[in-house]
Symmetry: C2
Subunit: 221 residues, 2 copies
DNA sequence: GAATGTGAACGTTTTCACAGCA
DNA sequence: TGCTGTGAAAACGTTCACATTC
């Protein structure tokens, strides 16, 4: 697959940069809503709390989108970032584990608005299976491969308990899913080349407890 | 506040390292359950998918916990990491926004087991206010300051919609909260020195769409 | 002998500073 | 003149390799 503009290989962009590109993308969305059509690197970078030079370096991974002396055209830059981030297309996904977190994700508007579309839900609880949840059919986890067979599904979310996560991951890989967002607090291992991103709420919480333990207290009364 | 062992200042440990320390901590917990009392840097680092040299460097931020030629004593290292990560004490927190995500968090065992304890919930919906949720009282957001006045609360979680997040953040800061975990998809700004960590599910999802857009397809049938 | 702890080498990311262009 | 795009420098993080200690 070739994805280059001006010799730039988007697959080589570091993950930190991708995350910032998404911030710029979100900030640009806001500017569009506000009817602002032009923005400079320092204005945009202020909106997302980064240095202007960093914004420009980040964009340099992707191409040249601005006009010297003038800045960037908001909607043009937004479209370009959409392209690089893969947000110009629809992404179908499935979810395994219709617990509280799973339900929260199915209902999360932020995914819908970015073109992520849920196609099927999997669980093991007899009461849930067969009952559509918000119009999405719920199947037994063992049916994953056959159910998603002819759908164009490349993304799977795992919101099952930790002890079930690895087996669910294996089933997703078997079903030819190529990217997984894992919310279970375990490290998943796969033989096949699968892109796995982990979201660990305890880990984020621990950054708070570390901070509070070792930085000056605000005040003591 | 002084938090040092052998001249090491725990407040200077980079965030990436903190996150890995928590991984080691979790892996050690598993070893304890399995009854393993001694571990080498290479064994432990294999468990969490990092290089042995990195594990040792990471620990070097904190002190010297091993024995040359022998390795680390599992429970000793676990305790030391607990101390550095602030996990040896109980942390009270409050939550603003009892939506689906809020409910998922209140019920998340991973926080309880790490000593995080929810003390109050805040919302604006008349039906929710006054009805305890899982034994936690639900108050109107405007009551935050008075409600948590005499509780020892330093952490606040924000799970309200994006447009309400900044005002909730302001109220938390007013109520003397010093660390915030923000799940709303907006950048929060504060005048006071507050530690804010953001959890953004769309952002993680976009790393998947970027990956799928620009790396070789697994196969084409 | 075995495995830690750590300086030095290496690689990556951020910041600086300014050349180049509208 | 103003702001982008980019080399060069600085800061930061990771890996190597080995002296040190048990």
């Amino acid at each position: 697959m070739e994805n280059e503009i001006n010799n730039r290989d988007f697959s080589k962009i570091p993950k930190v940069v991708i995350k910032r590109l998404f911030k710029y993308h979100s900030a640009l969305e806001k500017l569009i809503i506000d009817g602002i059509s032009n923005v400079s690197s320092s204005e945009l970078s202020d909106d997302v709390n980064v240095k202007a030079s960093q914004l420009r370096k980040d964009l340099a991974y992707c191409g040249e989108f601005g006009t010297r002396g003038k800045g960037y055209e908001v909607s043009y830059l937004h479209d370009k970032l959409s392209e690089i981030l893969g947000l110009q297309m629809e992404w179908n996904y499935i979810l395994a584990g219709l617990g509280r977190l799973g339900r929260a994700l199915v209902n999360y508007k932020g995914l819908v608005s970015r073109g992520f579309k849920i196609k099927a839900i999997f669980d093991i609880s007899a009461e849930k299976i067969g009952q559509p949840y918000h119009d999405i059919m719920v199947y037994h986890i063992d049916e994953m491969q056959s159910v998603i067979q002819d759908m164009d599904i490349r993304i799977g979310l795992i919101t099952v308990p930790a002890d079930a996560a690895q087996s669910v991951c294996d089933k997703m890989v078997e079903a030819k899913i190529s990217a997984i967002l894992n919310f279970a607090p375990v490290l998943l291992k796969t033989k096949d080349k699968v892109f796995i991103e982990r979201v660990d709420i305890s880990r984020e919480m621990v950054t708070l407890s570390h901070y509070l333990s070792h930085h000056e207290c605000q005040e003591k009364d």
